[in-house]
Subunit: 201 residues, 4 copies
């Protein structure tokens, strides 16, 4: 059992979850008695929130995918526990279109936002666990891997769980705007990427 | 015709079937006159059963996928019969989202549970047949393959058909709880995995 | 531009089209006032036709996929025309779930059956064209390819278009049963596979 | 982080988006009281426009996919900015089934057409940016890459944005026919492909 197979399943699940997000955008009902011009405007401008959610979830999934691949660049072997951490992680990847849809339909509801935030928190935590498990005592990585790179990746893996916790707190105060805090993730990831490149290479 | 191509089609079908499972989770109707707060609670807590089914089917498909890949690690060639065993097996993989959805919508119905159990029973049997056909007289595997490994895999392949039969019996007694018996599969697979590792390596 | 990329896109489209077929199976309406037991029986036994269609289209797509891969085993290069033959062919692969659904919803209608048969006829013809174009004057295959193998593959590629034409004729006489003629395809392909193996190896 | 992983995610997203296009074709409502024969004719012939849109979007996505792969044939490395250009580009690939569906439902509406055209314009521009960024100062390509090939690819990448702009202008004059201008894309691409082959090889 090589890691190549996990990567291939993961690529499949990530790409499908990312494409299914678009199904959350509402289409006009077929056959309804439309007064097209006005309704189309309502349909498009009435879901600015959904378009924002689509872009946000797409980008967050892309970040998870890129973290997943960077981890697997160093992970050379796999074992039973590692396989199950990954399967659980993919289960929450496939759940993202559902929780994105909830936040789109109930933009003002704390519960909907908490569901979405919890989904990302668990996904981020499993991702961090994947790396910790694999690098602990060089279990699944090469002995020669730079310890600074291991801890740089650890710091980076903490970003999403911390931001998700912050979003949960905000969901109690202002549910409508709480998702905006995720815009910090690309910024912080990029920052951490550059800090991580400099000492490494 | 190499086995690499079958693996690539199988990875695709497994990852899509696993992601389509999430479409079984009910989303709120668009445009209905909602009283959001209460309805959202009902929507989420009213489908605990569906969430359990989602996780169960995802994990069962992940187990089938991992068995498939472990078999293909040893299977070096393919032939016409082997190709058709695999195509039939993938046909029942793609059917899992449908039968999962049936058990979610009719949690108390023996018929719905039997349909789901039968789907898994056929899938498990085809999987076992795949291995028996390939290893019989070393037809598609290398001569050097350890016979103990062949029979360890045979024992492991019997787990899912046996558990599915057990679930069918339970479906007549207590349909609502019969699916819980599948929780034995990960436990027994893990157990069999470790017994299988020790003599092999 | 190597053929590997075309194969990768084709594997994706084939596996998605094969999995989407299952969406044609009707699920119970959510929230309808059901009298579960009877309705579930009606739901399942009322769509025996749909289950047959699901299995038939899955197997036909699997045959197309396997022919596609056997052709690409010999095709070493690609060019602009060849790329477009393949893209058009994939367009009709992706259309199969739609035409399957039509025949399921209108099992007695000649028009629905003709649509399905035409879809398969075009797909089969493009497949045959793919091979003829590639092997004509050894354009995209190696000089050393056995001419008997080329013509064996040509004969095999003719099976689906011919059967589809036969199905079209039958669709005017007995639409409900016309699809059964496709059961000839696996039989004839297997026969042609064995004839094709003997001289080749 | 190698380019192979971006290609694998891209192949997944392209193949899913291309297959999801077919979901835009309207299927008969289940359980409606049909007068089958006439309704089926209406269903099929009433959506000639949708069939045209399906084929058009499928072919445009296939062109984007083939351009993407030809670029990646020369791009040997990746960096953070390049990764994000690609993720944004894939986000607009996944949006194509939605905007295709809009133009199908509102064939006479300027707004719907503008949405579709804007989607393709952004996608085409990101594609061109991908190449410009990668080849600027040989950032991600080999030093030995023929400068004439770089500028030939630049010219070819300009086709879709220019045609999309033209379609936007036409959408104000004759929304119903404006999409036909995209038929220029395959013609112009083929032309540019041949001009590009001759000096290159």
């Amino acid at each position: 059992m090589t890691t190549r197979r996990i990567e291939s399943l993961a690529d499949g699940i990530f790409s499908i979850a990312m494409t299914l997000l678009v199904l959350n955008l509402a289409l006009p009902e077929m056959g309804a008695d439309l007064t097209p011009a006005t309704e189309l405007h309502d349909l498009l401008f009435g879901q600015t929130h959904e378009f924002f959610n689509y872009a946000l979830s797409f980008i967050l999934l892309a970040i998870f995918w890129s973290v997943h691949h960077q981890q697997f660049h160093f992970i050379k072997r796999t074992d039973h526990t590692h396989l199950w951490i990954n399967i659980c992680s993919l289960m929450f990847v496939a759940l993202v279109p559902f929780s994105t849809s909830l936040t789109g339909d109930y933009p003002d509801e704390t519960t909907a936002k908490l569901f979405f935030d919890l989904n990302l928190f668990i996904l981020g935590t499993l991702n961090a666990l994947n790396w910790t498990y694999a690098t602990n005592n060089y279990r699944l990585v090469d002995r020669g891997l730079d310890p600074r790179r291991i801890s740089a990746e650890n710091r980076r893996d903490a970003i999403i769980p911390v931001v998700a916790l912050l979003a949960m707190v905000l969901a109690f105060i202002t549910p409508l705007w709480s998702s905006c805090v995720y815009l910090l993730v690309p910024v912080m990831s990029a920052h951490s990427w550059f800090r991580h490149k400099k000492p490494g290479k």
